[in-house]
């Protein structure tokens, strides 16, 4: 069975989803990611979905689960690169992925994770100044 590759990028993990996901692949990704977060002490997980043409409630649920699991393991999940048509559809579908952070692209996502690492535990706002 093929699996989605997980890359280590500094203190973060990068997953690029490029295929039309079927259920087993999604389940496998969830398991692999969980193990890898623990093994690498990753503080962030970037999931690049810019290649995905749709996100249905199944994939949405998967993203939510990954975010929840990583949070428990002290890693922040950022979903990056969602296409406009996909975002519109997802909202219409009724899925807002409130537990998931988002960024426009991998670069911005990385910045987000890095900023979290630089900040002391308390700060939650983004009043970074300059």
């Amino acid at each position: 069975m093929d699996r989605i590759p997980i890359l280590k990028l500094g203190s973060a993990l990068l997953v690029t989803i490029q295929v039309d996901m079927h259920d087993r692949l999604a389940t496998a990704l969830q398991e692999d990611l969980t193990e890898k977060i623990v093994a690498t002490h990753a503080k962030g997980v970037l999931i690049d979905i810019s290649a995905l043409e749709i996100v249905d409630s199944f994939i949405g649920r998967m993203l939510d689960h990954i975010a929840a699991i990583s949070r428990m393991l002290d890693a922040e999940t950022v979903v990056v690169g969602m296409r406009p048509a996909v975002a519109i559809t997802l909202v219409e579908l009724g899925l807002s992925l409130t537990g998931v952070k988002t960024a426009l692209d991998v670069e911005r996502g990385m910045e987000m994770i890095r900023r979290r690492l630089d900040e002391p535990e308390v700060a939650d706002g983004d009043d970074a100044g300059a």
Binding site: H22, S57, R61, T89, G94
Partner: protein, 135 residues
């Protein structure tokens, strides 16, 4: 006006079939000339409905048709299963309602993604869902 001859019948028996239905709906949506957003909506609806049929109806048949009503073109999808059926259709359409382990967005969500949506179901009679997206 008459339905154009393009029509696909697809069995949905596994999660791979759901992926195949999605891809075929996408191809037909492009052929019909739906906008990118409309394509995405109907493909997502197809994904939800095909998966619902697999999870709760024990699988079934998906039909994809390119249709026209005079000057508008569109795509009509039919999902038919011989499963246990739905006792309360109104309830099943409500967000948050689920008899399985999902989020309960499947039916109501799919309905919002379509211009037309009808459910024909009763306990023991299976379920037939017809939905359409127009240009």
């Amino acid at each position: 006006m008459a339905t154009t001859p393009a029509r696909d019948l697809m069995e949905v028996r596994s999660s791979d079939d759901v992926v195949r239905v999605r891809q075929q709906v996408r191809a037909r949506a492009v052929e019909v000339g739906l906008s990118l957003v409309d394509q995405t909506k109907i493909v997502t609806a197809a994904s939800e409905l095909a998966r619902n049929m697999l999870d709760y109806g024990g699988g079934g048949v998906a039909t994809i048709e390119m249709v026209t009503d005079g000057h508008r073109r569109g795509l009509r999808l039919t999902f038919e299963d011989q499963g246990p059926g739905i006792a309360d259709v109104q309830l099943a359409l409500k967000d948050g309602y689920t008899s399985g382990s999902g989020l309960g967005l499947g039916l109501g969500g799919a309905k919002r993604l379509c211009n037309e949506f009808t459910i024909d179901s009763a306990p023991g009679r299976g379920t037939r869902i017809v939905c359409a997206r127009w240009m």
